[in-house]
Symmetry: C2
Subunit: 514 residues, 2 copies
């Protein structure tokens, strides 16, 4: 197929991706090494690139390139000069590009400007409010963000509700109804399980510590064992762990050392490595492919399913503790058995903090936030009422109450930057991870593995590569060809549901003797 | 003064500086953390920014802004509405901006394109040639670079020789005649001193080593003592040490650990810190000022004088060894006295490598390169004759011969990227540093310090801040208001010459008992 228009579009997209990856490099540097006082100039650098990116993504030139590529594609399709595979891929790319372009174009530039200011203002006020645990100093900024984002949804004028519209960039095609269907079974079950576990837990958590250098070394050994290729990945430390892709062969991840939590850095490494493996497995092997929508992750939920798989399914598994406990013991951790490490890896104690939450109570943190943000955006919940609503729900779901708003509704950064619709992805990730793991298990069994739990067996044998290869060829390779639900349907043969996650939790609790 | 045109120009320059500093951030990341395989995408990112920068610096819009600012300035000058100080600063800014704009505009974009390709090609061939010590595989690329840069000088059509024209970006206003005047006295003196020292040196250099973590810690203590502010500076490791400025309050420097050279990292830190202090002292305190020529270093020679001051004058001084030798001894270095550390800090053994050269023979490495590049560009020296000319001069000046071209004319990267006119700055830095140190000494004496050598006395007392304050208020603060020679004339009351450098060397040799 003579693909001139297609190539011109590709080159344009590649330059956009170059700019985007420069933005990510600045962000990486800011969070890993930049001295504190560099912040103001860095903000100016980022804003310059953001302006350039926005201009590119909504330009008349881009619109023309897109239209020409469509015409060329239609011609080739009618002439039958492209393969069905190519046709499918190109159609999907064009669909996603058009959708994104229309979104950028529907927005009044004035609103974009107001939002940028409101976000920056919101973030600063939130920092201040959090420091002083004073929600009221943040409330007006939050109210303004809510109303500006409501206006954004109106301008986008999609056939969806306000919250749904804002959630699209994170979870394409998600609806509130579907979310309710997925999350509702957890609303009663999770609090019951939390109650039960709290009643059973006898010994309080033991305090211990591990030297920073030893923590770093253990995390390095983990990645070495999991096949990290140093020529394409690097690891650093940052206040909040993250993973980012700076080029088709340039993957970065960070971890952090938390005082009093000697396993935190190790588990954060496993988690971020899961994100990175997904990115490394996306269909973007060449620079050319790298700029297209199909070369990207399909949703934040799927992304999170990959990080959670490596953190919870692998690193917190019993087999993993059996293989690793002596290494922890050898560097001086007060651990005398595999079971002891396994229990330490799975504390299951409900707390007020989402980021530090365990697998069992994590979902409740998300349910609370999801309910509240939908109420804020769609049901007229007043911003001023947020703290009391928050505290009420924590008492109801987790049986605990924050002592102040810093521990409560001021703990997360998302809303301060007007980020609504993002939280559910964290819980969707748990659900997707569990359902994928079930499919993986049955695939291994049907391939002749006779262990009762093939995943545990492979982890015990240090053969995590098998797990990775399965994820690569079943999940990573699709990029944005399929949305999250389509992907799960294709891979598992069933609609996404909370059942596998609940089953996984129950089994784990039983094995832990809880 | 109503300065609308001036402000518009300032905003334009600020955006250019933002882009330039993004380029520097990408470069920093590339050299400190980027995984190896990220190189190709990073090159694309850098090239995108370079194209944007070139477009900005030669655009019709920039030309208009510049013309409007000039008109506005002339009006204000005639109306007498600006102070003499403002007048001087603005005039200098406009002069430098116009000069740079004219340079960018005189170049045929085709030549710029060819040069970019030839540089990249030259660099890759040089790497290959160096690996195999095979100059002939590099020669055609070098010949092409020579001829393209000759063409560049022709297009620039300045009233200077070819080499002089190419040297301007590094040493504004430098001429070949002036360079000859400055360097000629060293041509006979330095080889004589090298001979003398070689004859005197008895004991061969002792081999010792220091653990990496200890080397890092000593370097950190050095910077802490020298007043490093962690909120604006950060340190990393890179294959070649460098210093860079990423924002008005964001300074970075790197060092490297060299096996078998336990003082290398420490001295490289002192050197790069000197570069950084100059940048930190430039008149660019606010974002606004940061984009203007006056906010920049005036020449590479002056930059080098600042790094050499802190490396050679301070860290390699006898007083410094007296204050620091116990700290080296305490971490296990086999050093029993201040004199022993001092001798180790000042090895004075001529070698084939410029980067590792000592203070005495360093100048000879530069003389050889300067002669050869002028001969290549102006006197028809054939590229193929370079290795034999190189080797002949090393034998003549330093009494040693490289075993192969890797140790010889392939050792430096500069020519492979078509960088001609840069080398002399290294030696000019030695001269400027020595002359500034003389002036500093006499200033301290006239301010009542009765030590025979006030610099040594202050270093002994740990009062290097006095040295820094002198440099700040006499050297750093001028930015590009004065060129290198004007600066030296203003600060020392004399024309730049090699006399203070020679005097300094002779005194040091005498004190070292050589």
């Amino acid at each position: 197929m003579p693909a001139l228009a297609w190539q011109r579009l590709g080159e344009y997209l590649l330059d956009s991706r170059l700019l985007g990856s420069i933005q990510s490099t600045l962000y990486w540097d800011q969070n890993t090494v930049m001295p504190h006082e560099g912040a103001s100039w860095r903000a100016d650098q980022l804003s310059l690139i953001a302006k350039q990116l926005h201009a590119r993504q909504s330009s008349a030139h881009f619109e023309t390139l897109l239209a020409e590529a469509k015409t060329e594609f239609e011609g080739a399709r009618l002439a039958g000069t492209i393969t069905p595979q190519e046709q499918m891929e190109r159609q999907r790319n064009l669909h996603l590009l058009t959708q994104e372009f229309n979104r950028q174009k529907s927005l009044d530039p004035k609103l974009v400007g107001h939002l940028a200011i409101a976000r920056s203002d919101g973030y600063h006020r939130w920092q201040e409010a959090r420091k002083n645990s004073d929600f009221h100093c943040f409330a007006p900024a939050l109210a303004s963000l809510v109303s500006l984002r409501q206006e954004e949804a109106r301008q986008l004028a999609e056939p969806r509700s306000c919250w749904e519209t804002l959630a699209q960039p994170f979870e394409p095609d998600l609806t509130c109804a579907r979310l309710k269907e997925l999350f509702d079974p957890l609303r009663t079950l999770l609090p019951e399980l939390v109650d039960k576990v709290c009643a059973m837990r006898r010994s309080p958590k033991r305090k211990w510590e591990l030297d920073q250098a030893l923590q770093k070394d253990l995390a390095k050994r983990l990645l070495d064992e999991w096949g990290r290729d140093e020529s394409i990945t690097c690891v650093a430390q940052s206040p909040h762990p993250f993973s980012t892709t700076l080029g088709p062969r340039d993957f970065r991840l960070t971890t952090r050392i938390v005082k009093g939590q000697p396993l935190s850095s190790f588990l954060a490494t496993a988690h971020e490595w899961g994100h990175s493996l997904y990115e490394q497995g996306l269909p973007s092997q060449s620079h050319q492919w790298f700029g297209w929508p199909l070369g990207l992750a399909t949703s934040m939920g799927v992304h999170e399913s990959q990080s959670l798989f490596w953190e919870n399914r692998v690193a917190r598994s019993k087999s993993f503790s059996q293989r690793w406990w002596t290494r922890f013991a050898q560097v001086g951790a007060p651990i005398d058995s595999a079971m002891e490490l396994w229990h330490l890896m799975n504390p299951l104690t409900p707390g007020l903090n989402r980021v530090e939450a365990d697998e069992l109570s994590y979902g409740l943190h998300i349910l609370i936030r999801t309910d509240l943000e939908i109420a804020l955006l769609e049901d007229g919940l007043e911003v001023e009422a947020l703290p009391s609503e928050w505290n009420y729900r924590y008492k109801e779901f987790l049986g605990i109450s924050p002592a102040n708003d810093r521990e409560g509704c001021l703990q997360d950064v998302h809303w301060s930057e007007g980020l609504f619709g993002y939280f559910p992805s964290y819980l969707l990730g748990h659900l997707i991870s569990a359902q994928l793991a079930e499919a993986m298990t049955s695939d291994f069994k049907s391939q002749g593995c006779d262990a009762s739990d093939p995943l545990e067996a492979f982890i015990f044998a240090g053969e995590e590569t098998r797990l990775l290869n399965w994820l690569r060829s079943n999940v990573h390779c699709h990029g944005r060809q399929l949305n999250a639900e389509q992907l799960v349907q294709k891979v598992t043969g069933r609609k996404l549901s909370s059942t596998p996650f609940v089953k996984y939790l129950l089994t784990k609790l039983q094995n832990l003797g809880l």
